[in-house]
């Protein structure tokens, strides 16, 4: 709204709209409506800055603050500075995807095994094992980053810093998320189905392979997607364990780039990161929805995702 619009005499009806809005918000009989307004404002505050950042990745000019028209300059067209043509940016994209793919493929089977073990093992070691699994979720990342950094420099120096260390680090904090997703499913499934299979003559191994694993499949697919998203979003562990320019990931590149030489190409790079993260999490949501359908529960994958947090 420009200044002279505000100076113009108010059109008739504006004040009654204001009054009506106020009456609607403070209506004491219905639902507490200020909560709706508050929630919508919160959602706008959360998402609009990100959308603006995505928009400036498509800016025609160099500015990250003034819109100069749409272009794909910062993605492809610029011969030196675009994500596609700047080797350091392209490499960061490649490194992030590579790490996330490797992390998901290593962390998921290990996590599924750990979940099976923890959900059914009734021995003396089960309780401490459970606690050990929870720790990576609540340890501040800087502490974990530092600990892993030290261990790869002084103790496992045959591995050293770099891509391998980054994968090992990412897997370490991703395992626990996989365990939580899969273990939740295991509790929901219970032991009856396997028991029935064994009563009908299946060996324990057959019951596991032919009954339990197919029932777990959607949760396992969801774990893969979530492990991918967690790895690609990670900044601190990648930062502590990187060795040289070739092991920069998108988040570490964003960090150094924003501090030294911001450019819309960073917005473009960040938007790509956002796209991959959202794709992965949407996939996870779809798999989890299948879980709920199969259990005959109504409701959505979003609810399933919302309860993931331990």
């Amino acid at each position: 709204m420009s200044v002279d619009v505000a100076r113009r005499p108010r059109p008739v009806g504006t004040s009654s709209v204001m009054q009506r809005t106020r009456a609607w918000i403070s209506n004491p009989w219905g639902k507490p409506r200020w909560l709706i307004v508050f929630t919508l404002l919160y959602i706008a505050w959360c998402l609009i800055p990100v959308l603006i950042a995505v928009q400036f990745g498509f800016n025609e000019g160099r500015s990250r603050t003034a819109w100069q028209g749409f272009s794909l300059r910062w993605y492809f067209d610029d011969p030196n500075l675009s994500v596609w043509n700047d080797p350091s940016l392209r490499n960061a994209l490649w490194q992030s995807l590579r790490l996330a793919a490797a992390t998901m493929l290593v962390a998921t089977p290990i996590g599924v095994g750990l979940a099976l073990g923890l959900a059914r093992w009734r021995g003396r070691g089960a309780k401490p094992a459970n606690f050990l699994m929870l720790f990576p979720l609540i340890t501040p990342e800087i502490v974990m980053g530092m600990a892993l950094f030290i261990v790869f420099v002084y103790l496992f120096s045959f591995i050293g810093l770099g891509t391998q260390a980054q994968v090992l680090g990412h897997v370490t904090f991703t395992i626990s998320y996989v365990v939580i997703i899969v273990r939740g499913r295991l509790f929901a499934i219970g032991g009856e189905y396997e028991q029935a299979a064994m009563d009908l003559g299946a060996s324990p191994r057959q019951a596991l392979r032919m009954v339990l694993l197919p029932m777990l499949a959607p949760a396992i697919w969801a774990s893969l997607a979530i492990a991918f998203a967690i790895s690609i979003d990670d900044f601190v562990i990648s930062q502590f364990l990187k060795s040289d320019a070739s092991t920069e990931t998108i988040p570490t590149k964003l960090y150094s780039g924003l501090r030294l030489a911001p450019s819309p190409a960073l917005n473009a790079l960040a938007s790509l990161l956002l796209a991959f993260s959202m794709l992965a999490i949407t996939a996870a949501g779809l798999f989890l929805r299948r879980v709920r359908r199969r259990e005959g529960r109504r409701g959505s994958a979003a609810e399933e995702l919302a309860r993931l947090d331990i």
Binding site: Y42, P49, G117, V143, E192, L254, L273, S277
Partner: protein, 303 residues
Amino acid sequence: MAGSAEVYSRRRWTWPAFAAPGLIWLILLFLVPFYAILAVAMGRQDPIFNQSVPIWNPVQWDPGIFGEVMSDIFSGQLGVIFVRTIAYVVIASLISLLIGYPVAYFVARHAGKRKVLYLVLILTPFWVPYLMRMLAWVNLLGTDGYVNDALMLVGLLDAPLEWLSGRSDTVVLGLIYGYVPFLILPLFAALDRIDESTIRAARDLGASPWQAFLRVTLPLSKQGTLAGLVIIMLPMFGDYYTNGLLSKSPNTRMVGNEIVLFIESGGGGSRGVALTVVLMAFVAVLMAYYLISVARATKESKA
């Protein structure tokens, strides 16, 4: 589940064998690294090459570097930074709670048919990469950014403000923006679990909506609220990147920035590691609280 006893017992080693790879992984790459930072923090600093020399045998641990760091905390520059970190984290967490609770409450209790839509909307920021969200604010808060433009248009500012050069309010805003979504989810879970009928009972017995909220909903959501606060305070205490992007100034340095500085400056490595151990000990209380509340929640859900 009497019938399933056989599934759970099986052969004695079946289930531990499934868990073994994960446990070995966590021991080698989680527990051992923790021991390694202790060994470096309690080790020596080689004065000639300026390198950390870890001491692996706890009997020979040398508290020298640790002592230096501790005395700097109690009577030096690091003390200021610790107090500042605590202040930032406490303020940011409380404001996050003021923002997060109404939102979680609305989605859990009053969103009605649109609940799923709202859930998706409050889940989205959770999965937007953290650095991307900070980048958004670096753009908006720039000298000629939208925030300055908007504030000048409304007349609140006469000249653009340098939001990004060492302002505490900017850093606290960044922390709030960064961590509110992580608080809303546990809050939502806690509020969503409350049985609608308990609130209806309170209303039927004559409580006003406000009384019902204060006497029923609020106490029932206390556990989830505290757990949610802990969940966002833990990473905030170790945060250095929010500050690094939104301020870069020594005036707003937090403990995490100090740790990273020790590492980057070279030579001070051991002190950075010792400071990490101190930070870890400091947040251990919060972590213990969280683990206890998780254990209690699992016990209750089994009962």
